[in-house]
Amino acid sequence: MSAEQSGKPGKQGWPLYEVFVRGKRGLNHVHVGSLHAADDAMALTHARDLYTRRNEGVSIWVVRSEHIAASTRDEKDPFFAPSADKVYRHPTFYDIPDDVPHI
């Protein structure tokens, strides 16, 4: 694994950061991409320049890529397949009033 992939600073350059932006009326932060920066402050500055140039956001999160724990492909079936046939987990057995938003 190269230094860049691991998100650790190395001779190749600055560590990798993942960028999350909350849209103007979005409810939560959405992953929009990644970038390189030397530290957290610089990552926020870069994220502002790279990912909010077209008026997309009102809030930015950045996090070092190495700090994200991710599930792997090998775990795909044990993790996700069992939910496929469990329709009772979906809240579809009662009526949602029309005036309840965000469901």
């Binding site: 932006v21 929009v32 970038l35 402050a41 500055t45 502002r48 320049d49 077209r54």
Partner: protein
Amino acid sequence: MSDDHVYLTLAEGHEDDTRWAYGTGFEDPLHGVDTTVPEGVDAGALAADCVALADDALVSAQRLAEWVTRAPELEEEVALANIGLDLLGQARLLYSRAGQVDGTGRDEDAYAYFRDTDDFRNVRLAELPSGDFAFAVVRLLVLSSWRLAHFRRLQAHPDPVLAAVAAKGVKELTYHRQYAAEWCVRLGDGTDESHRRMRAALDEVAPYLGELHTAYDVRDEVADDLRQVTRAAGLTLPVYRPLPGSGRAGEHTEHLAPLLTELQGIARAHPEATW
């Protein structure tokens, strides 16, 4: 919420504008602003002020654009280009205003492309060659601190258009100054080499500080800004010996003419071209 594409989600609230790549939810900074010159405002002086501020921005934008493909990192290249485009936007509004009030009816292109070196009123600090990255961020710190202090005052200008342009610019310039200040501290407080380059950049900038006057007295405010950043960066602002002459009077260094040649070349070769 639509989760089909992250940018569709981000752009929600602008459903009429699904072509987000071309921008969403833009606002015209001059929307609803009365463009008649108020009584008591000297139109000639107003036009001259607008041209001087626009020239600072246009020349700075051109120098910043020179960093494209040459910046140390891709992210910095985008940042510098963004800042340049912010300034270009300010220049366009200010040139348009100058053309409205000076009686000539000239458009923004006439000011940008069809005036000669002697007609430009930018301060000389803006036209100095790009130099290294340290010089770029030191110059940006100085010019954005100065312009920000000036624009803050201009928000109360009796001309509503100039006041609106200033109100828009204040937000942009606050970011420019922050970007520059962060880099100045990082480099000044960095390695021996970056510290040395920052000192050299400050030495180069210092003689031009004396030229940064405005109709308002903002010298203390700008000096405070610079002192705060240089202190945090472990640097000191050298005592300056102001150079004689002034870009505001049309007196320029030998560096402005080649800049304008490049900036104006295509527009002058094809005067009525559109694209």
